[in-house]
């Protein structure tokens, strides 16, 4: 392991990913330090989701190296679940367990994976439900909640595992417009608390105000990587300019 990879919480080196013949990621190099907040944007099919899914090995990369907190993710890795425990993920479609109440959704992995007692798991679950401002929904089933509430539960569920890194895969894309803000507020709150975050999102307001760095991807490559002010006011790459024009004109 190089000196470099120790300092970074996340490091990707020359990562390629193929789906059959199709190359989804091309030579990705990315370093994320502790407490850094990264926003990844780009047109659909550009490889944004694939990139962050390689970070908890929901997708296996085909070439290059991925390090999480100094541990390399490979086929030989003994306990991928030990790494996954440190990396929280929030999905576009929430993916709450439909057969469990909200509080059980938050407790199950704590008890099974972190081997925490039922009482402690419940206490921690209620703590995080309060943090996302829906403790009163604890005993409902996910289907009885609005989309925004479900996504906040999903964020709380990931936080219960006390992760070092939070990955967000288009967390507001499946939401009705009036519910987007309640989810973004929770994410801003989390960012202010110093969580290391990588967010794939089209919420440019969020990107501008929260991100330390914005990464623009197209066709499986990182095309541009810069601070928000630079990214929005002075984009260098032609493809970035086109993309920003398309999403900011309306």
């Amino acid at each position: 392991m190089s000196e470099h990879s120790k300092k970074n919480l996340i490091q990707m080196k020359n990562v390629d990913k193929y789906f059959g013949e199709f190359q989804a990621l091309k030579n990705i190099n990315l370093e994320v330090q502790r407490k850094e907040r990264i926003v990844i944007c780009g047109p659909s099919g550009s490889g944004k989701s694939t990139l962050i899914r390689c970070l908890n090995r929901l997708e296996k990369h085909n070439k290059g190296q991925v390090y999480i907190d100094g541990k390399e993710l490979t086929d030989q890795i003994k306990d991928i679940n030990a790494v996954r425990r440190e990396v929280g993920m929030v999905f576009q479609s929430f993916n709450l367990f439909p057969h469990m109440t909200v509080v059980k959704n938050l407790m199950v992995a704590q008890q099974l994976v972190r081997k925490i007692s039922k009482a402690d798991a419940k206490q921690s679950a209620m703590h995080f439900l309060e943090r996302v401002k829906i403790p009163e929904q604890a005993n409902k089933y996910p289907i009885q909640l609005s989309g925004g509430q479900q996504q906040r539960v999903a964020i709380a569920r990931a936080l219960c595992m006390k992760p070092k890194i939070m990955l967000f895969d288009e967390p507001t894309s499946a939401l009705d417009p009036e519910m987007i803000n309640e989810v973004l507020e929770v994410m801003v709150d989390l960012a202010n608390d110093g969580m290391t975050m990588i967010c794939v999102t089209h919420e440019m307001g969020f990107a501008r105000s929260v991100a330390d760095r914005i990464i623009f991807m197209d066709l499986g490559e990182i095309v541009e990587e810069s601070k928000p002010s630079e990214f929005f006011d002075n984009p260098k790459n032609e493809r970035t300019k086109n993309f920003l024009q398309q999403i900011l004109t309306h």
Binding site: R84, M89, N95, P98, V113, K140, Y141, I143, A154
Partner: protein
Amino acid sequence: MIVDYTLIAESLPVMLKGIGITFQLLFISGFLGLILAIFLLLMRLSGKWYLSFPAQVYIYIFRGTPILVQIFIIYYGLPQFGFIRSSIFWPILREPMGCAIVALSLNTGAYVSEILRGGVLAVGKGLIEAGSALGMSAYQKFVYITAPIATRIALPAYSNDVISLLKSTALASTITIADMTGIARTIVANTYAPYEIFISLAIVYLIFTFILQKSFGYLEQYLGRYTKREE
């Protein structure tokens, strides 16, 4: 045709003495078949060809041949082999009841494993990924996420199979077993009154089917309680 109500009134209680046997066939075979089905399912889901392939062959054979033929093969065919007569299974296979239970279990197991597989395949991929992302092991994901959801999804088709098994138990009467159908056949042989006897027998089966249907209906509602928006 004149219906002989006295005959019905006299034979019904006699036929109902076979309920015990019919229920034994249904519940024991249903239980053993379910366990077999879970094994076959796990073999098929293992992703290992040397487990999956035998399970597929087994399912193909038992779904592809009539249950009556399977009962005959086990009852008349197996005792032909010396090694079966000297095996530990002989005390079971020597008895018609044992043969019937074995045949019904083997048959229903093949069907039920496919029903369960349908349920497992219908569980959303995203839920399994959520489990992975939380660091749950393959075993934990199966037991806490896949199995409970798959059970709910598979239940309507499974209840169908249990009802079908209830009716298949009647075939046990062909190998001398005195279940309700077996007793009815004996009465018909003595009274030459097939209509009265078999129609009242059919009604008895209908009543039990109704009870099974209702019970599964309640179970479905209970297991599906989290799929309804209102409380």
